[in-house]
């Protein structure tokens, strides 16, 4: 064994000379993200990894702080006219694109227009907009047809699609085509020449970025890049990512699997950080077009059949990271409410059976799509099957990988001919914190997402919410939306789970935010 060991150590010594970081004086943060970066346009796709990429290289007009409040980011100030129909925005001094050109109001107007043509919340906001105009290099206005609370909610939206600012020449790209110029004004510059999908994505510090003077808080405040270089390493195997973290080959894992956290906690060189904002919410989505889920009473039986604890424990398995929460708009957030939820989600089998009997359920098998390859979702469908069968449903659970499910859920064919009745998934909390951004509440029939709920009352409530600029009144409307959602059942929230991040103890400055960001983070040399 000794000669072998000596040979290896000799090779290790030789390799040590060449395995070093690109420059000895540089600090590099090596991170494993939840997915590999393949697409680079955060307005063209809603994929979360592309959103995270967006936060690296682009900046936003507004941003959410640690408490979830919307703060100025690229803006010096904004004013609202007395009739609440004209918003005037003024950019901060010294903002600069990565190519050295100044950020102008025209750039921002073009960026908002492109975002508003793609994003669901942006489209809603846009329906209130009469015009958007650049007044001078630093000032632009949004003129509304009627007052709405959606301007700040939209421009401060933290998750996909985020209204990132791009240079006018880039933002004028057809919204249905991907951008090919990745010039941003954020704290990091994308190194396209070093981007190797399936291997690594590289960002370097933008030396000319002018951070705000306030300390960093959530996604807002001073975005100070404290490392010279960030590398996203594409390690798809969770166990291997954990091994690499333990050995110090990487510094950070965005979404370590919950079942591997126990081992990581025992490592003296690793820290686990739980952010109350980095959480997800499970949800059950029925297909309103297919019998028997076209019958509201059958759908309501599900509220009694299910309980959140079973779903959470089967998937997360650790009580420390789960929270039973019946608030549709996520617990501990501005629009959280439990109104209408009394007696629901308690696995009241008797009540569920009564409802099915009243509805005249004829035993039609429910085609339940079961995603098998994403660990965070794998055990949801088997739990749903078990609880539904106890309530009297007949369930045909069909297993498939997530990408097959994604393709199949767009089909309106009968469930026994390639269509479907239901599936389960998870939302990032930041995406579902109000009635407009919560996409599954969209009940505009053909125009709604797969599942196609159709309800004029729900749409009116969502419009009322969009029109209402007063947060207190918005809260009341959000309560009414939740009550209507229980009657309509476009989806059923199945509890929340925390998604901790894991990193070496040499890494400091991780920010509590709904999206993992890399400014303010530093690595001890």
């Amino acid at each position: 064994m000794k000669p072998f060991k000596h040979a290896l150590l000799a090779a290790a010594g030789l390799a040590g000379l060449t395995l070093a970081t690109p420059a000895l004086s540089q600090t590099t943060l090596r991170a494993v993200m939840h997915s590999d970066l393949k697409i680079l346009d955060p307005i063209w796709t809603t994929a979360y990894i592309v959103r995270n990429h967006g936060y690296m290289i682009y900046d936003t007009l507004f941003a959410q702080d640690e408490k979830g409040e919307i703060k100025l980011q690229m803006l010096e100030k904004y004013d609202v006219s007395a009739d609440k129909k004209v918003y005037t925005f003024t950019l901060r001094d010294g903002l600069m694109w990565h190519d050295g050109q100044p950020v102008t109001a025209e750039d921002c107007v073009a960026s908002i227009k492109r975002w508003a043509s793609r994003d669901a919340l942006g489209q809603k906001m846009n329906s209130f907009v009469e015009s958007m105009t650049a007044k001078d290099a630093k000032t632009f206005t949004i003129n509304l047809k009627e007052p709405t609370g959606l301007v700040l909610l939209g421009l401060g939206k933290p998750s996909s699609n985020v209204p990132f600012m791009m240079p006018k020449r880039v933002a004028e790209t057809d919204p249905n085509k991907q951008i090919e110029d990745f010039t941003g004004s954020g704290p990091f510059v994308f190194k396209k020449d070093e981007w190797k999908p399936g291997d690594k994505t590289v960002y370097v510090k933008f030396d000319k970025y002018k951070p705000r003077s306030e300390p960093a808080s959530g996604l807002s405040g001073g975005k100070v890049a404290k490392v010279d270089r960030v590398e996203w390493r594409a390690i798809s195997d969770q166990q291997q990512a954990v091994n690499a973290l333990t050995k110090g080959e990487i510094d950070f894992i965005e979404q370590p699997s919950h079942d591997l956290l126990g081992g990581l906690k025992k490592d003296a060189n690793v820290q686990i950080i739980e952010s109350p904002q980095l959480k997800g919410q499970y949800t059950f989505r029925p297909n309103h077009l297919q019998k028997p889920f076209d019958n509201p009473k059958v759908r309501q039986a599900l509220w009694y059949a299910f309980n959140q604890e079973d779903f959470l424990m089967a998937n997360i398995g650790d009580a420390a990271y789960i929270k039973e929460c019946k608030a549709m708009f996520v617990c501990d957030t501005p629009f959280a409410t439990t109104k209408g939820m009394d007696g629901l989600l308690t696995s009241n089998v008797k009540k569920a059976q009564e409802l099915l009997k009243e509805a005249g359920y004829d035993g039609t098998p429910i085609v339940l799509m079961h995603s098998t390859d994403l660990k965070i979702l794998t055990n949801l469908a088997p739990v749903a099957k078990s609880l539904m069968e106890k309530a009297g449903f007949k369930v045909d659970m069909q297993s498939m990988d997530w990408q097959t499910l994604v393709a199949r859920r767009t089909k309106k064919d009968p469930a026994n001919a390639g269509g479907w009745h239901a599936f389960l998934t998870a939302w990032v909390a930041a995406d579902v914190m109000n009635p407009v951004s919560r996409a599954y509440l969209n009940s505009a029939c053909e125009k709604s997402l797969f599942g196609w709920p159709c309800d004029a009352q729900m749409e009116k409530l969502r419009d009322d919410f969009a029109r209402e600029p007063d947060p207190a009144k918005q809260k009341a409307i959000a309560e009414a939306v939740q009550v209507r959602a229980i009657e309509l059942t476009p989806e059923i929230p199945l509890g929340e789970y925390l998604q901790p991040v894991a990193m070496r103890k040499s890494v400091k400055g991780f920010l509590i935010a709904p999206v993992p960001v890399f400014w303010n983070m530093e690595v001890a040399k």
Binding site: K5, A15, T18, P197, G198, D199, A244, K247, Q403, A407
Partner: protein, 315 residues
């Protein structure tokens, strides 16, 4: 028939094979219930956005039209652009070929260097504990999946002993030492099954020739046992061993898919997995065509090596 004529005939014979592969892989992908446009669009995308992406990718056209457009381009050497990576498939493959070639060569060299002496030793010591140990290892090597072996090696050599890195690949241009060091564990992992396969075949072939008259004659002439084994026995047993090695090289194509994914090596195997998961049709089609071509070429190479090892073989 001359050797040149034989090679030409075999090369022409690859054309229908590749054509069948092209049709088969195209149909397999299109008939699989999946939609790259829905994947690209992301979870929050609506039906209209997905439809627009489908249109941009040309996936809204009839399947036959899609096939002829793709196949026409392939005939001109254009494998198209990846749906996801915004790069040509040819560029993607060129980027990924070095890690895969490195891993494959490293593995085969390692496997041959370990397996052939082991097989000869087992044959020489037939029926002893050495023979049983080698054959026991061979059975184990066949039976345990590569990812299980990989995890065991990682735990022992990278985590427990801390001798080797857990994952990753370093290009040769960035330093030979780092390149070799990062390949040791993946190559060891991948070589286990080939060591088992080649050692077993070597033992059987050598045992067969050991009972031949010329071996008895060599021994009678007083040749030392080492020379008998390596000069007379092994050389005459080489044809089936080379066949197995050739088969092993072809089988490596499957092996690199698992091993590259486990060790985060950005090679063709990893590209295949990523492309399949993302339903990146142009990339999957090109990689499968490439793998098929390599498979056919390896078979041809093995047939040609026969003539070198055994002058009696003529085509």
């Amino acid at each position: 028939m001359t050797l040149f004529g034989y090679i030409l005939r075999r090369l022409i014979g690859t054309i229908p094979v590749m054509l069948v592969v092209a049709v088969f892989i195209f149909l397999m992908l299109r008939l699989t219930p999946s939609d790259p446009a829905a994947i690209i669009a992301g979870d929050n995308a609506n039906a209209e956005q997905v439809a627009k992406i489908r249109q941009q990718l040309g996936l809204d056209q009839p399947m036959l039209t899609q096939f002829f457009i793709w196949f026409g381009k392939v005939l001109t050497g254009d494998f198209g652009e990846s749906f996801f990576f915004k790069k040509t498939v040819a560029a993607l493959i060129a980027e990924r070929i070095e890690p895969t070639l490195s891993l494959s060569l490293f593995t085969i060299v390692l496997a041959v260097l370990i397996a052939v002496p082991l097989g000869v030793l087992a044959a020489h010591r037939q029926g002893t504990w050495v023979d049983r140990l080698v054959m026991g290892f061979a059975v184990l090597g066949f039976s345990v999946p590569a990812f299980v072996i990989g995890y065991i090696f990682i735990y022992v050599f990278a985590i427990w002993l801390n001798w080797l890195p857990v994952q990753g690949y370093q290009r040769i241009s960035e330093g030979l030492g780092g390149w070799a060091l990062r390949l040791v564990l993946p190559a060891l992992t991948l070589s286990v099954i080939y060591v088992a396969l080649i050692a077993r075949m070597t033992r059987t072939s050598v045992l067969e020739v050991l009972s031949e008259d010329y071996v008895r004659t060599a021994r009678a002439k007083g040749q030392v046992e080492r020379k008998v084994m390596f000069r007379h026995a092994l050389r005459n047993a080489a044809v089936p061993i080379v066949t197995v090695i050739g088969l092993g090289v072809a089988l490596l194509i499957g092996g690199v898919v698992v091993t590259e994914s486990l060790y985060t090596i950005p090679g063709l195997g990893r590209l295949t997995v990523d492309a399949v998961l993302a339903r990146d049709y142009p990339t999957i089609q090109a990689v499968i065509l490439l793998f098929s071509f390599v498979y056919v070429m390896i078979n041809l190479a093995v047939d040609l090596i026969y003539t070198l090892l055994d002058p009696r073989i003529r085509y």
